[in-house]
Point group: C2
Chain length 100, copies 2
């Protein structure tokens, strides 16, 4: 690969790397909050799942995805991927009383 192409790919990749770092830190913050929700619900004996909240989130993300010109199907897959992880955290909170 010639130097010009290498430099151009490097330019793109530095932006991708910056965005990935932002995504990781935003996700870490998101899980901090959902874990706090898990602990709060357990402490106050509240139901772990809330289907109406989840429906609202999906609808809201679809709208956001549209305005960001992101594939709405992808954004739904993405939310489901995150929610599966949150549910695992909440199950661990309930079963083990704490998170590793």
């Amino acid at each position: 690969m010639d130097e010009k192409h290498k430099a151009q790919l490097k330019y793109y990749r530095e932006s991708i790397d910056n965005i990935d770092a932002s995504l990781v830190f935003m996700l870490a913050e998101r899980f901090k909050i959902t874990k706090a929700v898990g602990f709060y619900k357990r402490e106050h004996d509240l139901p772990p799942a809330d289907p109406s909240r989840e429906q609202e989130q999906v609808a809201r993300l679809r709208d956001l995805a549209k305005s960001a010109k992101l594939d709405p199907e992808f954004s739904e897959k993405f939310l489901n991927f995150i929610i599966r992880e949150v549910i695992q955290h909440h199950e661990r909170i309930r079963e083990q009383g704490d998170l590793k």
Copy 2:
């Protein structure tokens, strides 16, 4: 559910919603760049995949996840999830010559 609990959950959920909006817009920006990479590679007849780059990304994200106190396994699953989507975009770029 009593009003105090409702208010507390609302407080948490507003933060989750803010973060989700950020994630959607960061992902949209990330896909803009990876699509540009796809077009650039096609235009200059460069190889579509780069295993050494992917290995570097996984290693880098593992380190970032550690410093963000995010589960490194989750961050790897997350990167793979994103990369699968990027590969689909790139395949569409190669096959259809454009993206819908």
